[in-house]
């Protein structure tokens, strides 16, 4: 069955096209806007991070500077003599601690030889010798100095702020320890998201604060950053089989305001964003790291939602496409079927028309030979009269035979005549006719035949019957056929034929009912077919009803029949009334 396959293919094609047309724009939009959003969001997040880190950096730098300022002020406000006084130093420390909430741990006065001549603070560091301490050496080099974090003599991590005062010929240093814990907390408190953490390292990669988790960056990176060397995407092999990788350098500014933002993949395979800014004039690096997943969590969340929507949407589209195509193909199939039926009807009509023309042609041709036959027979008849054949045995038989030839010839004439009527296009001599009048005419014509067959014809004609536009000869033909058929259906016992006319809305209805033998159900379908007849040979041509059917249909009407065997038959003829005219009045 070619059809099923054709429809299957059609369905599939529709589904594919609908899906492609629906999903492609969606995907395109999703991809393009997603990508754009992705990029701009990334940029925003990074910019935001950078700002935050820089702000934090400023805070820290500010904090450190202020400590320096505090100490420098003390150093300049009070001379060596006063500061050497330990009780004075203690009082100052007390004031400092009150003012600055315990950030300063201790205060110490150190002479140029590195001896702490005065000390105020919790540790026993009086007279400590810092001559070999690195911080002392550095502190002596510059007017003010902040050290890195170191353990020192006290064995605890801390860093100090110093100021170098040159008074007359003396050089001395006033130093103070900054509470590491407080400082650490300051840095640690910088937290964004769930995985963000900050810490400080120095140029050698030594931690100045304690990060909460293991940092991701390595020493080479810090060094490169501080030295303003361009950071590159590179892989660092840490150990056998373990390597880390700088995935991407988002940004690197060099110079005094250096900042770098890079993306790194850790040993565990996680991606991290790291922001580095420099502190303490380039000696320290403030590093902020956050898991990329965390930093861009919102982006990923939205992306996932968008993907979910697209997937659901696609599923819906596919589903709808299938349903739609199914319905469409169903309707298409239906339309195709109807079209085929119409085509067949058209072909049938065409066939009928050509049969008609063929019939006409045949009729033309047949009449001539038939005429010749009949003439010859007549001639023989004439000759027989002349010859003295009175005694001949077969004379009667010859005469009978010849008569038969003539009868059959006449019959041929009848048949071709009717055939030609069937084939001929009816002449359009349309007039406004009164059905009732025509009925009465035809009934009058049939009265002879009715009487002969012991049939009573009764009329029941509606008075207010709408006029009809039709060719009167055609109406007559229809009525003639129906009435004759009705009369013929009634057997010798006799019966009744009832002709009724009535109006039914826009239609004029003629009913011809007989109480004759009826039409068996198997024949009912075929009675309007040409050449179909149940009459004995010679009595009917089978064309009457098909002619009626053709005429009624051409007028835009309808002809139907009810029948029951041995009960009777009724034919109903529906003819549209002429428009726009009022019902006729019967006087």
């Amino acid at each position: 069955m070619d059809d099923a396959q054709y429809y299957r293919q059609l369905r599939r094609n529709i589904v594919l096209v609908v899906i492609a047309v629906s999903i492609t724009p969606m995907l395109l939009i999703g991809a393009i806007t997603g990508y754009e959003f992705h990029i701009s969001y990334y940029a925003k997040v990074l910019a935001h991070l950078q700002e935050l880190v820089e702000k934090h950096n400023q805070n820290l730098d500010g904090f450190l500077n202020e400590r320096q300022v505090n100490i420098r002020f003390l150093g300049r406000a009070f001379g060596y003599e006063q500061l050497a006084d330990e009780s004075r130093l203690e009082a100052l420390l007390q004031m400092l601690q009150e003012e600055h909430h315990g950030v300063f741990v201790d205060l110490g006065l150190v002479d140029e030889k590195g001896i702490q001549v005065a000390y105020a603070g919790p540790f026993k560091l009086a007279q400590a010798d810092y001559a070999d301490a690195e911080w002392f050496r550095e502190a002596m080099k510059s007017p003010s100095y902040i050290s890195g974090v170191f353990l020192g003599l006290r064995g605890l991590p801390h860093f100090i702020v110093t100021v170098k005062i040159q008074e007359d010929d003396k050089t001395w240093i006033l130093r103070s320890t900054i509470d590491f814990v407080a400082f650490n907390t300051l840095v640690e408190n910088f937290q964004l998201g769930e995985t963000g953490l900050a810490y400080i390292v120095n140029s050698k990669g030594e931690f100045q604060t304690r990060p909460r988790q293991d940092p991701v960056l390595i020493r080479e990176t810090y060094e490169a950053f501080l030295e303003d060397r361009p950071l590159e995407e590179e892989t660092f092999t840490i150990a056998e089989g373990h390597s880390e990788r700088i995935q991407k350098v988002w940004k690197q500014d060099t110079g005094a305001d250096r900042v770098a933002i890079i993306e790194k993949r850790s040993l565990a395979g996680r991606r991290y964003l790291c922001v580095m800014t420099s502190l303490k004039g380039g000696e320290w690096i403030l590093v902020y790291q956050q898991e990329a997943r965390d930093a861009f969590s919102e982006l990923y969340y939205n992306r996932n939602i968008a993907i979910l929507i697209m997937v659901l949407g696609s599923v819906a589209v596919v589903f709808a496409a299938i349903v739609l195509s199914r319905r469409m193909v169903f309707f298409i199939a239906q339309a195709d079927r109807e079209k085929e039926m119409m085509n067949e009807q058209v072909i049938e009509a065409g066939k009928l028309a050509s049969v008609g023309e063929l019939a006409a042609g045949i009729a033309h041709e047949i009449n001539n030979p038939v005429a010749i036959m009949v003439e010859e027979a007549g001639w023989v008849e004439d000759l027989l009269e002349e010859e003295d054949l009175k005694g001949a045995e077969n004379l009667e038989e010859l005469q009978r035979a010849l008569k038969q030839i003539r009868t059959q010839g006449a019959r041929c004439k009848e048949i071709t005549h009717k055939l030609l009527s069937f084939a001929r296009r009816t002449d359009p001599r349309v007039q406004t006719v009164s059905i009732n009048e025509l009925v009465q005419e035809v009934v009058g014509l049939s009265e002879q035949k009715a009487r002969f067959g012991n049939v009573k014809i009764s009329l029941s004609l509606s008075e207010r019957l709408l006029p009809v536009k039709a060719a009167p000869s055609e109406i007559q033909q229809v009525l003639m056929n129906l009435i004759n058929n009705a009369i013929d259906a009634i057997d010798k016992k006799g019966g009744e034929v009832e002709v009724t006319t009535r109006g039914d809305g826009d239609l004029v209805v003629i009913d011809v009912a007989d109480d004759g033998q009826g039409i068996p159900k198997s024949n009912l379908q075929r009675i309007f077919d040409p050449f179909f007849t149940t009459k004995p040979v010679g009595k009917g041509t089978g064309l009457g009803l098909s002619i009626c059917y053709g005429i009624v249909k051409k007028m835009g009407g309808e002809i139907t029949v009810n029948s029951a065997v041995d009960v009777g038959t009724t034919f109903h003829v529906y003819i549209p009334a002429a428009d726009g005219e009022e019902a006729e009045d019967r006087a």
């Binding site: 033309h364 009449n367 001539n368 005429a371 010749i372 003439e375 007549g378 006449a410 004439k413």
Partner: protein, 143 residues
């Protein structure tokens, strides 16, 4: 004086048999097998009373032949024979002056009756013409 009939039909057997039968009924029959032949014979023979003319013939068809014949011999009546049961042609013929029409195959008695009617009409016409001519002459005397 027997009636003279001109039979015009392209079906030869038909013409032959018809001729025999009509002759048996004491008609004088002339035969032609085409419109042109019929026209010729009509012009030649001034005594033709009735023409029996087939409508559909090759060459000059019946209607045309009728037209010409009526021009040539208006008093001769024409009976049309048609095998086609086309009422239109018959009506057209009668408008052009045919006396009547019959359909093939035709009943010979019917045909004979029609011939007799046609002859009667022709005779009547001829008589009236003669009368009128006589009157004319008579009245022309002018006294």
């Amino acid at each position: 004086m027997s009636t003279v009939v001109l039979l015009v039909d392209d079906e030869v057997p038909f013409v032959e048999t018809m001729t025999k039968r009509l002759t048996k009924r004491e008609l004088t029959v002339l035969a032609a097998h085409s419109g042109e032949e019929g026209l010729e014979k009509l012009k030649e023979n001034k005594k033709v009373d009735v023409v029996i003319l087939d409508v559909k013939m090759p060459g000059m068809d019946g209607i045309e032949a009728l037209r010409e014949m009526k021009k040539a011999r208006p008093l001769a009546e024409v009976i049309m024979l048609t095998g086609h049961a086309t009422v239109e042609t018959a009506i057209e013929g009668m408008k052009l002056g045919a006396f009547d029409y019959l359909m093939k195959p035709c009943d010979l008695d019917q045909l004979m009756a029609k011939v007799r009617e046609a002859v009667a009409k022709k005779s009547e016409h001829e008589r009236k013409i003669i009368e009128a001519q006589a009157m004319n002459i008579a009245l022309r005397r002018g006294d």
